[in-house]
């Protein structure tokens, strides 16, 4: 469903993403992990057609993203990490705009918008401007907007940001169901235990390169670690966390004296 070959992105001589390649099959939920600045968001932006790669190719549902971006964009849904909303619109207006951009028939659109907002508990706020929404409520609108046109592939960049426990559980369950129905899900996150529980496969990126690709169990076995967190620590060389935390604490407490 997703085929990435030698994907590279260079900014002013700095390699943000360095010749990565992977294939994701239909119905897979792939967790895409990496420390800050590893190139996760850059990869997602290239996969969704927001950023043009410096090198490499991306094919989604058999279509070349660079050659046929509009057709590819019709097939994908994307929940961005930040931004992504016109805050002067109401949730109802925003979702209607999104649906119309995908040419959804009005009656289908009306039905879906109301249903999605109801499922996320936003029905009573749907005619209020998004600027008055909390972070979690905005996130629910973004998720609804990504699912509105029933995409074949879903890209999620930190989708649980701001969501309450109930909504987070709902989303995780929803992702499993969608994958079972044949949707492909690319899940980008920092929250390792969520990835461990939700994803069928994990790709770890560090300094723009893929350092691990496999199921959680395979990665644990390969690195001889007990949890995904330990695997991640080992592969991204951040095992000096305790020392760093100690230095921070010393610095903060030193100010008191």
């Amino acid at each position: 469903m997703i085929e990435v070959v030698n994907l590279t992105k260079q900014y002013d001589g700095v390699l943000a993403v360095d010749h990565i390649s992977f294939t994701i099959a239909q119905g897979e939920i792939v967790g895409y992990l990496g420390p800050n600045g590893a190139g996760k968001s850059t990869t997602v932006k290239m996969l969704t057609g927001i950023l043009r790669p410096t090198e490499g190719s991306i094919a989604i549902d058999g279509l070349d993203l660079l050659k046929d971006p509009i057709e590819v964009k019709r097939r994908i849904g994307y929940v961005p990490e930040t931004g992504g909303l016109y805050e002067s619109l109401t949730a109802y207006e925003y979702l209607h705009l999104v649906g119309r951009l995908y040419h959804l028939p009005e009656e289908v659109l009306d039905h879906r918008v109301e249903e999605f907002l109801k499922l996320f508990g936003l029905q009573s706020f749907m005619h209020e401007r998004l600027s008055s929404y909390s972070k979690g409520m905005k996130q629910k609108v973004l998720i609804s907007a990504a699912l509105l046109h029933n995409p074949k592939v879903l890209f999620l960049d930190e989708p649980l940001t701001g969501l309450d426990a109930h909504s987070a559980l709902l989303l995780k369950e929803l992702l499993r169901r969608l994958a079972a129905e044949g949707k492909t899900i690319f899940y980008c996150s920092h929250i390792l235990d969520v990835v461990e529980r939700t994803c069928t496969r994990v790709i770890i990126i560090h300094k723009g390169r893929i350092v691990a690709d496999g199921t959680v169990e395979q990665l644990k076995e390969l690195t001889r670690q007990g949890t995904l967190e330990d695997v991640f620590k080992q592969l991204t060389y951040s095992s000096d966390i305790e020392e760093l935390a100690q230095a921070f604490a010393r610095s903060i407490l030193g100010m008191e004296g």
């Binding site: 992105k9 900014y11 002013d12 700095v14 932006k45 969704t48 057609g49 927001i50 950023l51 043009r52 971006p69 509009i70 057709e71 964009k73 019709r74 994908i76 994307y78 961005p80 930040t82 931004g83 992504g84 909303l85 016109y86 002067s88 619109l89 207006e93 705009l97 999104v98 119309r100 951009l101 995908y102 040419h103 401007r129 008055s132 890209f155």
Partner: protein, 563 residues
């Protein structure tokens, strides 16, 4: 009939690569967003009201200018003047207010992954821009068009011909700026692009402010050329092309007019075509480039400069709040592009005025006996108060307004000292260098002592204005509100409306310089008055900001109660 027309339009749009369904919904939302963006705490400063005020003020300006000229000039020169004025104003407004409309990376974040063609997206952006151009272009030209019918060489058809041509000229002007944006985007990244735009806008500000001086001096030459039967020199100026089109529309089929008219149509067609074709095809690619822009790398200051800056802060700002405000506003004055654009061109004014003074042969030393007071020297000094009014108008706004939450959570206890710090930063960063420059520039013509005394008086006058302006401050922390379309243009326009008040100061200076002790006494008095006013203004700004914070807190509590 209506359905057939709509079908035809849809067919045309599809042939151009525009999705009519998406176009319509995106355009509707883009205008809806413009008209809804209103800060609940900014006393109703919304885009519609700002647009209305701007249109009203421009309409009045045009009416006044038309009343002064319609019985004096022939129709050709009358059209030329108003077309030049409209085209310059439109280009200036597009440059200063519509940067984000034409090139908006934030928009791309929201729409970039949706199946929208570049052409559809660009057509929406262009239509949004044209809506404002049409409104402002109409305001600029409706009165001149009407009064033109009663001009010296009156022609009743004039309004019907002139008005659409004027709108076409405005479109030409706007498209020229759009293409300039496009050309810049092709060669540089977004950070550099934004910097380059600031410099282009600064250059343009000079053109607007001093261009009329050139036009006034060139008018006799053009008229002379016209009577000699040749107006070819005007061919180099776009307003001349459109003035020719007006003449052809009125039935004056002279060879030169026909040539200009044809040229104007050709160039407008070319600009619109170039905008819609080549640029729009690659629009999303350019926007993607914007996203790729990396943070600007700045060199760290040397330890010596850091120590000097610290020492200056400690010397001028007494409390931590004052120091924080002083530091923050100085940084923003150096980094914020809008502030740079609106304030820094003033530092070039002394040089421009010196050039004007040389042209006028009017830069004689007014302190010497039997010398008249040079008006140019007075106008130089007035740049200070004008800068103060602009700073006051711009202070609440910034594109980085979201970061203002910081002020709401940090314990800023002494708001009076905070605002003292804000004003001191402005005085040190802009007013002081401006008047040092004025002193240095005038020293070329006058005794240095006289030049710097004149500059010091200007500084003191600006200090008074700073106090007065902040007595009317609406409250709010610096750079804490979202800039909205047209509000800044409206405030700048209102500032220019204050210009007649300066006549009183001109008279005051004229009287002061007649007596040897006058300037010294005035300097002392001005500084004392300035100090008193600024103390009062700090109290007032602090009170207004506190009241706004309370209102905001109340609103938040209300929301909490609701939820």
């Amino acid at each position: 009939m209506r359905h057939r027309l709509l079908a035809l339009l849809e067919h045309g749009a599809r042939r151009l690569g525009i999705d009519p369904h998406q176009y319509w919904h995106l355009l509707r939302v883009s205008l809806l967003l413009d008209f809804r963006r209103q800060n609940a705490l900014s006393s109703g400063q919304s885009t519609p009201s700002a647009l209305l005020t701007t249109c009203l003020v421009y309409g009045i300006f045009s009416l006044l200018l038309a009343l002064f000229t319609f019985r004096v000039l022939d129709l050709f020169h009358y059209s030329l003047i108003f077309l030049s004025y409209s085209m310059l104003m439109i280009a200036f407004i597009v440059l200063s207010e519509f940067g984000a409309t034409i090139v908006s990376p934030d928009d791309y974040e929201i729409l970039g992954h949706r199946p929208i063609t570049s052409r559809t997206y660009f057509a929406v952006k262009l239509s949004n821009l044209l809506f404002y151009i049409l409104m402002i272009g109409s305001a600029l030209n409706v009165f001149p068009a009407f009064l033109g019918a009663f001009s010296e060489s009156a022609e009743r058809l004039f309004p019907l011909i002139y008005f659409p041509v004027a709108l076409l000229a405005c479109l030409f002007s706007a498209m020229l700026v759009v293409l300039l944006y496009g050309a810049l985007l092709r060669v540089i990244n977004y950070e550099k692009f934004k910097d380059a735009l600031v410099y282009v806008q600064i250059a343009f500000s000079f053109l607007v402010l001093f261009g009329y001086q050139v036009i006034l001096r060139a008018m006799p030459y053009w008229e002379q050329e016209a009577t000699a039967g040749s107006r070819r020199a005007i061919l180099i100026m776009p307003p001349g092309w459109f003035a020719g089109l007006v003449q052809v529309g009125l039935g004056h089929w002279e060879r030169d007019f026909v040539l200009w008219a044809g040229w104007s149509m050709l160039m407008t067609g070319f600009l619109v075509g170039a905008g819609l074709r080549s640029f729009s095809l690659e629009y999303s690619f350019h926007l993607a480039r914007l996203r790729a822009a990396t943070a600007e790398r700045r060199r760290a200051r040397s330890p010596f400069r850091r120590r000097m800056a610290r020492a200056l802060e400690r010397l001028l700002a007494r409390s931590p709040e004052e120091r924080a405000a002083f530091y923050f506003v100085r940084r923003m004055l150096r980094r914020d592009r809008t502030l740079k654009l609106r304030l820094y061109p003033a530092l070039g004014f002394p040089i421009a005025f010196v050039v004007l003074g040389i042209l006028e042969k009017g830069l004689t030393d007014p302190f010497l006996p039997s010398k008249r007071f040079p008006s140019v020297a007075f106008f130089m000094v007035l740049v200070g108060p004008l800068l103060v009014l602009n700073f006051h108008a711009l202070l609440p706004y910034s594109s980085e307004h979201a970061a203002a939450w910081l002020f709401r959570v940090t314990p800023v206890r002494d708001l009076v000292r905070f605002f003292a710090g804000v004003k001191k930063a402005f005085l040190v960063a802009l007013i002081l260098p401006l008047f040092l420059l004025i002193g240095a520039a005038l020293s070329w013509f006058w005794t240095p002592w006289h030049a710097f005394l004149h500059a010091a008086l200007g500084f003191a006058l600006s200090y008074i204005f700073l106090g007065i302006a902040f007595l009317f401050y609406r409250g709010g922390f610096p750079f804490s509100q979202e800039p909205m379309k047209m509000t800044q243009t409206r405030q700048m326009t209102l500032t220019f409306l204050c210009l007649p008040l300066f006549g009183a100061f001109f008279f005051l200076f004229y009287m002061l310089y007649k007596y040897a002790e006058g300037p010294f006494l005035a300097l002392g008095l001005f500084l004392l008055l300035g100090w008193i006013l600024n103390r009062a203004a700090d109290q007032r700004a602090a009170r207004a900001t506190r009241a706004q914070q309370e209102l905001e807190g109340g609103v938040l509590e209300w929301f909490d109660d609701l939820s």
